[in-house]
């Protein structure tokens, strides 16, 4: 009897151990989103312009029932956006010209977690050091909010936001000017 009970417990443990937890992570959508957002922020291009779309032909006769399908409705929109993401993108874009010289001088680098990091303060006077610290702090606050918002929009579990950050990190690193410092996957810092 005792052996049967233990056998049952072992079976339950075995079954529980066999449960596979599948966590949803939309890799393609995350990569596309990261690419679009970083491109927009870093290349200082205006917000993605809508393709020129002509209004429906005005000469077309309609029946009593309206039958036009809105022109924006052809195909699923892939852009991940909302009011917060738009505002954060604008803030990152505004700040980029101030951060760029520090990236070029190697004072600030792009780390592997999707954040900017102070690499060295050498050659900077105290007001410059304060400015770098404030810029890095403000930039990383925006990026933290961006990852949270994009994660919510893509229905990514908050525990998986780290993966999203890594995807963004690759895009930020691609976008830095040559000679800037980036952190490799093994944690070492190299120049791009």
């Amino acid at each position: 009897m005792k052996r049967a009970r233990w056998g049952f417990v072992a079976l339950v443990v075995f079954l529980l151990a066999c449960v596979t937890v599948n966590i949803y992570f939309p890799v393609t959508a995350a990569e596309k989103t990261a690419e679009e957002i970083v491109k927009e922020v870093r290349e200082q291009i205006p917000e993605k312009e809508e393709e020129e779309k002509n209004l429906p032909d005005g000469s077309e006769k309609q029946s009593w029932h309206f039958i036009k399908v809105a022109y924006a409705q052809g195909g699923e929109a892939l852009e991940v956006s909302n009011a917060s993401i738009r505002a954060i993108k604008a803030s990152l874009k505004d700040r980029y010209p101030a951060i760029l010289p520090y990236l070029q001088k190697g004072i600030v680098g792009e780390n592997q977690d999707g954040f900017v990091e102070v690499r060295t303060m050498e050659g900077l006077a105290l007001p410059g050091k304060a400015q770098v610290k404030q810029l890095v702090d403000a930039e990383n606050k925006d990026r933290t909010n961006l990852y949270r918002e994009v994660g919510n929009a893509l229905k990514i579990d908050q525990n998986q936001v780290g993966r999203l950050q890594e995807i963004f990190a690759k895009e930020w690193q691609k976008s830095v000017p040559p000679g800037s410092w980036i952190q490799a996957d093994d944690g070492s810092w190299v120049t791009r």
Binding site: E47, E50, W64, F66, I67, K68, S84, Q134
Partner: protein, 500 residues
């Protein structure tokens, strides 16, 4: 002795070779140094804090007794000081420190201490700091800001405006005094009081002749009286004069001693049951409104509330209860109001709105949408406004039959509904009458992730109608229900409507 000698050497090593001043010591039992410093620089090994190009005078005497007795006079006239992201320019506000106390590797006890920033800010007191616990205890302290505007500008606005741009929009003038007795931090204890006389302005509101005496921390069991008085509160809703908040402090809380009625925007606001808690900070209370009709609103709305309870913390403002807005012969109930991160640059507002029997004719007079007669009811569920823009909502509008009201819709309005839902007006409308009756209008609109989804609420023979005609008239059918419309596209459509 060796340990103490090391300790003294550490202190000496703080000074760079640029420090050309006489100093002498006698077997490390007395260390004395007096002279001037110029171009002195120091940065902590972790880069957290430091000074640069400091110029001033130092007169330090350290006596090696059981504890190290310290007597110091330091003045700084030039240079920068950095702590984390906070930068301070001593040239703008020269510093003088006088201190007498004792120190060991665990902490510092100061018997007398006085810090003066120019002629503006004077701080004097007695107390101790524990280096290991990272705590301070102030037996007594008095900090006086003769010119609060200068102090605010130099200590807060200039050093931190890159990080918090909103600081540039705040102005404070007047005299501020902070006194402490047996105050401890970070374990809040004892008393810390602030008294202020002056003026404060934040975007949209300016307060003049402000006089206040409030505890920033008061953990004592005895009830103490305190107050906030505002001679004049000026906002875009007009001026309110002679506001007085009678308060009492007791065991870490401040209470409003009696309900306060404030005339505001043509009506009045009744504030009651107000309680402020110091650590962690929160303010809770009850607000009732009567006949509030804010100026500057594009609609003739009158607000009232029968007592909404609110709680404000640094993270969230939440309101229990609802605000009723009477507008266009109907009623709009705003409930579930929540503002996340209320003190940040990007507060996120959440609310639930229900509207009942709003007169469409009067509503359409205030919009470019075109004339519609009848009445609507509906709701806005899960409304989220972030960075001043709608981020998510579910809007349902449905006409309701009202015996006294005729139901009709103009061709302009039909075209605009078409533009909104489908991107284009109806075609071949030249032969249609200007106005015709409708059976029902029902629209559901959802915004999520910058995508709008529009549905008609009337389903008939497999079709989804936004507008259902009577015998004669026009139907508006949604031929692509559930198809998303991008936010930018919707903005374009709204612009098209407003241009028509």
């Amino acid at each position: 002795m060796i340990v103490r000698a090391f300790f003294l050497l550490n202190i000496i090593s703080l000074f760079s070779p640029q420090l050309a001043v006489p100093f002498f010591y006698n077997d490390f039992s007395i260390f004395q140094m007096a002279g001037g410093v110029s171009g002195f620089c120091y940065m902590s090994p972790d880069g957290t804090w430091g000074g640069e190009n400091l110029r001033g005078t130092v007169n330090v005497r350290i006596v090696d007794q059981e504890l190290l007795g310290i007597s110091a006079e330091v003045s700084l006239e030039e240079g920068y000081f950095l702590y984390d992201k906070w930068l301070f320019d001593w040239k703008e506000t020269p510093l003088t420190i006088q201190m007498r106390g004792a120190m060991d590797r665990h902490g510092l006890a100061f018997e007398e201490g006085e810090i003066t920033f120019a002629d503006n800010f004077r701080l004097s007191g007695q107390g101790s700091a524990d280096f290991e616990e990272r705590s301070i205890y102030l037996k007594s302290l008095k900090a006086s800001f003769a010119d609060t505007a200068h102090a605010y500008r130099e200590f807060l606005e200039k050093p931190l405006k890159t990080l918090y741009p909103v600081m540039e929009k705040i102005a404070i003038e007047g005299k501020l005094t902070v006194t402490a007795q047996d105050f401890s931090y970070p374990e809040w204890g004892g008393e810390l009081w602030a008294s202020f006389e002056g003026a404060v302005s934040v975007p949209g509101i300016s307060l003049d002749q402000v006089s206040m005496l409030v505890p920033l921390c008061y953990e004592g069991p005895l009830r103490k009286e305190c107050f906030v008085r505002i001679g004049s509160l000026l906002s875009d809703q007009g001026r309110v004069s002679n506001l007085s908040f009678p308060l009492t402090a007791e065991s870490g809380q401040i209470h409003l001693t009696k309900a306060l009625r404030i005339p505001f925007a043509g009506g009045s606001v009744l504030l009651s049951s107000l309680v402020e808690t110091t650590a962690p900070f929160s303010i809770a209370g009850k607000l009732s409104f009567e006949n509030i009709s804010p100026r500057g609103l594009p609609i003739p709305a009158v607000f009232a509330s029968d007592g909404a309870s609110f709680t404000l913390t640094l993270e969230k403002l939440s309101v229990e209860g609802s605000v009723v807005c009477n507008v266009w012969g109907g009623e709009v109930l705003i409930g579930g109001l929540e503002i996340n991160d209320p003190v940040s640059a990007s507060p996120r507002i959440k609310a639930e709105i229900v509207f009942k029997e709003v007169d469409l004719e009067r509503l359409s007079e205030y919009s470019v949408f075109g004339e519609v007669k009848g009445a609507i009811s509906g709701y806005i569920k899960d409304l989220v406004i972030a960075y001043g823009q709608p981020e998510a909502f579910e809007l349902v509008i449905e006409t309701v039959k009202d015996k006294g009201k005729r139901q009709s819709i103009s061709l302009t309005a039909v075209n605009n509904i078409s533009i909104l839902a489908q991107g284009a007006p109806i075609m071949a409308s030249w032969f249609l009458p200007e106005t015709f009756p409708y059976e029902r209008i029902g629209i559901k609109c959802k915004l999520k992730n910058d995508l709008f989804y529009i549905h008609g609420l009337i389903n008939d023979r497999g079709l989804e109608y936004l507008v259902k005609r009577k015998r004669f008239g026009i139907d508006v059918v949604n031929r692509s229900p559930g198809q998303p419309i991008e936010f930018k596209e919707m903005v374009k459509r709204l612009e098209t409507i407003s241009r028509r």
